[in-house]
Every structure is written in C-alpha cells, then in structure tokens.
Point group: C2
Amino acid sequence: MNRNGGNELGGKEVKVANKRRIGACESVLRILALVLTLSAAVILGVDKQNKVVPVQVLETLPPISVPVSAKWHYLSAFVYFVVANAIACLYAALSLVFLLANREGKGITGLVVVVVDVVMMALLFSSNGAAAAIGVLGFKGNSHVQWEKVCNVFDKFCDQAAAALVVSLLGAIAFLLLIVLAAKRLHNK
Amino acid sequence: MNRNGGNELGGKEVKVANKRRIGACESVLRILALVLTLSAAVILGVDKQNKVVPVQVLETLPPISVPVSAKWHYLSAFVYFVVANAIACLYAALSLVFLLANREGKGITGLVVVVVDVVMMALLFSSNGAAAAIGVLGFKGNSHVQWEKVCNVFDKFCDQAAAALVVSLLGAIAFLLLIVLAAKRLHNK
C-alpha cells in the first residue's frame, strides 16, 4: 500500500513537473510570438525610401530628375502584412495575460485559445506568402507580364522589407510550435 | 451496483458513439481536403491563354499584331501554389489511408498526423497568400511601381486562377477544421 502510495505520489510529481515545463515553454513561445510579430509590423510600418531618379522623356533632351518614393502602404500585400502582424501581436499579448491569469487552462477556454492560435497562424502564413510574392517581384521583376524589378532603385526599402518578412516568418513558426505544444499537452493528458 | 454498471455502460456507449462521429467527420474533411487541393492544382496547372495584341512601335506606323501567352509557370508564386496544393493533396490521400487502416489513432502516430496537418495548413495558407497577392496585381496593377494590370488582356486566364484560389482556400480551411477537430478530440479524451 505504501509502495503504491509512493508510486502514485511520484507519478503525480512527474505530471506536475511536466505541466510546469510545458507551461513555461508556452509562456516563452507567446512572448517570442509577441516580440517577433510586433517587430515585423514596426520594421515594415516605418519602411520608406525617397530617391531622385533620372528619367529620359525625349532622346534629344537631357534626362529630367524625378523624385520617387517607396512606402509600405503603396502595396496592398504589405498593408495586409502589417495589419496581420499587428493583430497577431495584440492576440499574443492578450493570450499571454490570459495564460498567466488562468494557469490551469482547463475547460472550454483552453480549447478556444488553441483554435484562435490556429487562426492566427493561418493569418500570419498567408500574409507572409503575400509579402514574399511581392518581394520576389520587386527583386527579380517578371518579363512575361512586363513588371520591372524595383529593388535596384529602392535597395534600402527592399532590404528592410525582407528583414520584416524573416522576422514575421519566425513569429508564424512560434505560433506553429504553440499549436504543436498544445497538441502534445492534450495528447499526454 | 447494477445502476452504476448501467451508468458506466451508458457512458462508454456515448464515448464510442462520439468517437465514431468524430472519426466520420475527420474522414469527410480529409476527402474534402484531398478533392479541393487536387482541383486547385489542376485548375491552375492547366490554365493558359494565347492572345494577339496590337503593339504600337512607332506613331507613324500602323500597330503590329504580337502573339502573347499567359501560362501558370511564368510566375513563381503560381508555381509555388501548384506545388503546395499537389503536396497537400498527396498528404491528404496518405493520411486518409492511414486513418482507415488505424482507426484507433492511438499512440505517437495520432500526434504526428496532427503536426503534419498543421504544417500542411501553413503551406497552403502561404501559397494562397502568394497567389492572391499576384492576382490583385494582375487585376488592378500598381501605379507606384509601374506594374500594369494584365487581366484586361488575359481575362480567361485570370478568372481561372481566381477560381483555383477560391478552391484552394476551401482546402486550406478543411485542414484548419481538421486541426480544430483533433484539438477537440484530444481535449475531450
């Protein structure tokens, strides 16, 4: 009886330790998701570049200097990217507060958090895909549809957008890991 | 004792019935995901349009008729879209076979299926985002970067690409629902 009691206690202790470890992992991942999505939204949100480029209007005249500028809100894919990252960042903050206030995560609320995590991951991956597609066009252009590359002119703007994309991708992966962790936690229950 | 036994039996029956219902839902969702991603890959994979457009080379000369064509593999975002849908379709078929062969879904294999479902959903949503970003450019163009719209010329091609995008989005939502269902199943365990 004592032996069984000892085993039971040991099993309970291991379960509690496992639960704590998973809880700590979840907190770290949520903080990472919050920081990464916030950084991505800010990096692209403040991205702009002004340049003066020479434009040849007529062959007989010297080229005219034209000021051109690149801003994130000129492209709808970049607007979607910034909005999606801002929403994911806000949700990461709210879910972190919720997690700390309700450490048990029992009942229907735990399930709701997992479902919203999945929706946020979908939102982030689709916005990353959209920004990456525009980024590839900006860097390489496309001769078939006569869309010229623009990153030879707006080099700083493009580099900053690429950095935002990498950071947001890491944020999306943090959400993916949160879902895998939740699945593991529910599976081991 | 009898009463308890009866309650226990009733509880077990409800659990078995619930498990069967969830299993049936999962099979239907996997078949849907398979059909939708296959359709999306095929709809965009066979999409092409040839046209003859008049091009004005010199103002003093009459316009020259130039044959132009639109094919899905001209744009890297569309290649990514077709490949992502083909991979998701192949995985949906394999996971369906696995589900039917291993109805219990116990042990580590059930968890692995959930994790790969999450990865497939991420892949599909990012490819949908990429294709949608290119689609918006094709339909509307962008004056800031001088990318002209092309869907006024390639109308049939664009409509077919839009149809593929809607179908693929539904396939991605089927994967999302599969993950929600798995979370619910694990939560109720």
